[in-house]
C-alpha cells in the first residue's frame, strides 16, 4: 500500500510543483539555503552513510561539489536516499534538486522522462558475480544457463540481463527486488546463483557480504553503463551549473589543482589556472553562470579534483580498489574529457 500512496503523492505533487520549479532551481536552492540531492539507499563507493551517518562516495561528493559551487560551502547538502523506482519521480516532482545516484544515461530517460543528464561521472558496465565456492566450475557468464539471477527492479540492468540471455540463447530465472538491501540479502541467503548489476556496484556489494572472498566477479561486461547526475528539463541555468561543476572537477585534475594546493595555485603564473580559479582581472567566469567567480576554488576546496574524489571513494584510497581504467583523464588514455573553461 505504501508504494501506491507514495505513487499517488508523487503524481499529485507533480501536478503542483512544476510551476514552482520554473521559477528557477538556482533561486529556489539559494532561498532554501541547502541543496536537496537524491542518492542511493546505500551503495559502497558511490553513496552510502558511514558509521557517523555522513554520506560518503563519488555521487555524494558530486552533490557536495555542486553545493560548494552555489554556496561556497560543501556541507550545505541534504541527502534523500531513493530506490531505483523512486528516483525519477523524486526529481520530476521537485522533491530533489539534483539526482546523483549511479544512474545510467539513456535516450529514453533523457527525453520521455523529462530529465537532462549532465555528463558521465563514472563509465561503468554490467557484470555478474557468483559464489565461486558453491559453483566451482563456472568462470564465464556464458555458463550461466539455467541460473537464478538476482536483480534490482526498474534498472537498465534488468533489461540488459534479458537481452544478454536471449542473445546467447540461455535460460534464466529472474528474482527481482525493489531495494538494493533486499537483493543483497536474497543473494547472500542463496536464493539466487548470480548477482547482476554495474560492475563497480558488484565490487562494493561484495564487501558487504558474509564472506567476500567466496565471491568472484565474472570477466564479461555485457553493457555500457554511463553513470551520471541528472536534472529536470526546462531550467538551462541550473543545468549549466551542474554540468560545469562536473567539468570543473575534471579541469582541476587536468591542471594539477588539488584540495591541498588550491590556495597556492591562485597565485600561479599560468594564465589557464588563473582563469579557471577566477583570479584573472575583470573575469566573468562565475557570474555568467550565476555564481561567484571563485566557484571552482570552492569546489576543489570542498571535495578536491576528480582524481582525488575517485581515489578516495572507489580507487586505491578505498576498500574497493577499482583502477581508473576508462575513467582516467583523456590525457592518460581514459574517457574523461572536459570542454575548456574560458
Amino acid at each position: 500500500m505504501k508504494y501506491i500512496i507514495s505513487g499517488i503523492l508523487g503524481a499529485a505533487t507533480l501536478g503542483m510543483v512544476a510551476t514552482a520549479a520554473s521559477a528557477g532551481t538556482l533561486e529556489d536552492v539559494k532561498a532554501k539555503g541547502f541543496l536537496q540531492c537524491g542518492v542511493s539507499t546505500g551503495l559502497a563507493g558511490f553513496s552510502a552513510p558511514n558509521d557517523k551517518g555522513d554520506w560518503q562516495g563519488l555521487d555524494a561528493d558530486f552533490c557536495r561539489a555542486v553545493a560548494a559551487a552555489v554556496f561556497g560551502d560543501g556541507t550545505k547538502v541534504k541527502f534523500t536516499p531513493l530506490s531505483a523506482k523512486e528516483r525519477f519521480t523524486a526529481l520530476q516532482s521537485g522533491e530533489i534538486d539534483l539526482l546523483s545516484r549511479n544512474t545510467t544515461w539513456t535516450i529514453n530517460r533523457d527525453t520521455a522522462l523529462g530529465l537532462n543528464f549532465v555528463g558521465v561521472t563514472y563509465f561503468d558496465g554490467q557484470g555478474f558475480m557468483i559464489n565461486a565456492k558453491k559453483l566451482p566450475g563456472v568462470n564465464s557468464a556464458l555458463q550461466l544457463s539455467g541460473a537464478a539471477v538476482c536483480v534490482q527492479t526498474g534498472t537498465t540492468t534488468e533489461l540488459n540481463l534479458a537481452d544478454y540471455f536471449k542473445a546467447n540463447k540461455m535460460e534464466y530465472n529472474p528474482v527481482v527486488f525493489e531495494k538494493l538491501e533486499e537483493v543483497n540479502a536474497a543473494y547472500d541467503a542463496g536464493r539466487c546463483d548470480v548477482y547482476t548489476t554495474d560492475q563497480s556496484g558488484l565490487y562494493g556489494i561484495r564487501l558487504t557480504l558474509g564472506s567476500p572472498d567466496d565471491h568472484v566477479v565474472l570477466p564479461e561486461i555485457i553493457s555500457k553503463e554511463p553513470l551520471g547526475p541528472a536534472v529536470r528539463q526546462g531550467d538551462d541555468k541550473w543545468y549549466h551549473i551542474v554540468k560545469w561543476a562536473y567539468f570543473a572537477l575534471l579541469t582541476a585534475e587536468e591542471l594539477g589543482i588539488t584540495q591541498a594546493n588550491v590556495e597556492e595555485m591562485k597565485a600561479s603564473g599560468n594564465p589557464e589556472v588563473k582563469r579557471v580559479l577566477g583570479t584573472e582581472t575583470d573575469t566573468k567566469i562565475g557570474t555568467d553562470l550565476g555564481l561567484g567567480n571563485d566557484w571552482v576554488v570552492n569546489i576543489v576546496k570542498a571535495v578536491g579534483n576528480y582524481g582525488e574524489v575517485f581515489e578516495r571513494n572507489v580507487g586505491q584510497g578505498s576498500p574497493l580498489k577499482i583502477a581508473r581504467g576508462i575513467n582516467a583523464l583523456w590525457t592518460k588514455g581514459g574517457l574523461q574529457y572536459a570542454p575548456p573553461i574560458r
Binding site: 500500500m1 508504494y3 501506491i4 505513487g7 499517488i8 508523487g10 503524481a11 507533480l14 501536478g15 503542483m16 510543483v17 512544476a18 510551476t19 520549479a21 520554473s22 531505483a84 523506482k85 525519477f88 520530476q92 529514453n108 530517460r109 527525453t111 520521455a112 522522462l113 523529462g114 558453491k134 559453483l135 566450475g137 563456472v138 555458463q143 550461466l144 539455467g146 541460473a147 537464478a148 527492479t153 526498474g154 534498472t155 534488468e158 533489461l159 540481463l161 534479458a162 537481452d163 536471449k166 534464466y172 530465472n173 529472474p174 528474482v175 527481482v176 527486488f177 525493489e178 533486499e182 540479502a185 536474497a186 541467503a189 542463496g190 536464493r191 546463483d193 529536470r232 528539463q233 526546462g234
Partner: protein, 396 residues
Amino acid sequence: MATQDIPHDVGGGRASLLYDPKVRGIFFQVLVIVALTAFVWWIIGNTIENLKRANIASGFAFLNGRAGFDVSDSLIAFDSDSTYKRALLVGFLNTLVVAVAGIVTASILGFLLGIGRLSQNWLIRKICTVYVEVFRNIPPLLVIFFWYFGVLSVLPLPKESIELPFGSFLNSRGFYFPKLIWGEGSMLVPVALLLGIGMSWFVARRARLRQMATGQTFPVFWTSLALIIGLPLLALAATGFPMSFDFPQKSTFNLTGGFQIKPEFLALYLALSFYTAAFIAEIVRAGIKGVSKGQTEASSALGLRAGHALRLVVVPQALRIVIPPLTSQYLNLTKNSSLAIAIGYPDLVAVGGTVLNQTGQAIEIVVIWMVVYLGLSLITSAFMNWFNAKMALVER
C-alpha cells in the same frame, strides 16, 4: 434570487421557494456536485498542463511497447519481447492467483480455528486462542518476512535438496514436484469428471425429494464421492492411463523440469492465509456466539445430535452474521497481496512498478493500479452481497 412567490402546497401556506427545504436540499446537492466536478477537472487539467511543460510523455500508448524485461512467475507465456500490457496482465493474474488461493485457505483455516475456540476441549481451545492472538497482532508484512526469511530461506540449497516422496523436492528455491503430462485420449477424464458432478447433483436432488416424501435418508455424500472420483478413474483405466510425469532433475544450478512453486509465492500465500485466518476465526466465533442459546437447546430437545444441531441449526444462522464482515476480510486479503513487492513476488504492484520505472509513466500506472484494485474489490463485494442475500433469513 429571481424566484417569486409561487403557490406551493405546503400545509396550505404560501412559502418562498427560497425557504422550501426540498428545493434548498436539491440546490446544495447540485452546488456540491458542480464544485467537486470543477475541482477534479482542474486537477486533471493542471496535471496534463504541467506534464507537458516538464516534457514528460503521457498517455497510455506506451502499453503497446516492448517490455524488455522478464518476469519470474507467469501463468501465460511471457518473455522480454512481449508488451507492457501483457506484463501488467501477468502481474494481475499473479495477484488473482495468490488472492483466490489465500481466500480459500484462510476461510477453511479460519472456520476451523473459530470453531476450535469454542471447543469443549481445553487444549484445542487454548491453542486456537494463542494462534488468533499471535497472528492478529502482528503486521502482515512481518508475517510475510517471517515465512520468507524465517522459514523458507533456511531450507537447504538445490544441491542438498530435501527429497520428498513421489519424486518431489524441497529447497530454498521452492517446492518441486513431478509435472503431469497428459497423453492421447485423456480428454475423456474431464468429461467423466463433469459427468460425475452432474450425476451427484441429480442424486442429491432425488435424495432430498425422497426424504421429504418418505422420511428415508440416502448416503448422498459417499455416493457423490464415489461418482466424482470413481468415474474419472474408470475413464483413465479404460484409456490405459494416457499420462506421463516430468520429474525434476538436478542440473548445474537448479532443479530443472517438473513443476516449481517458488518461495516468493509460498511465503506470500502462507502469510496472507495465516494472517487473515486469525481474523476470520474471530468472525466465525462471533457468528456462532451470536446465535441464541435457545436455538441449540431447542434442537437438542427435538432430538438432534450435537453435530447435526451445529450443521443444520446454528451454522446457517451464524452465516448471516458472518458474511458481511467476512467480505471485508476478503477485500483486505486481496489488497494486502500488494505487499508481495517486499519479497519479489511479481504481482500487479511489483510488475506495474517495474513498468513505471522503465517507462516513467507514473500517473498512468498509478491509475491502472487503482482501477484494477477497485474493480477487484467491487466484484468481490458484489458477489458477497449476492451470497449474503441468498443466505439471509427468508421471512414468511
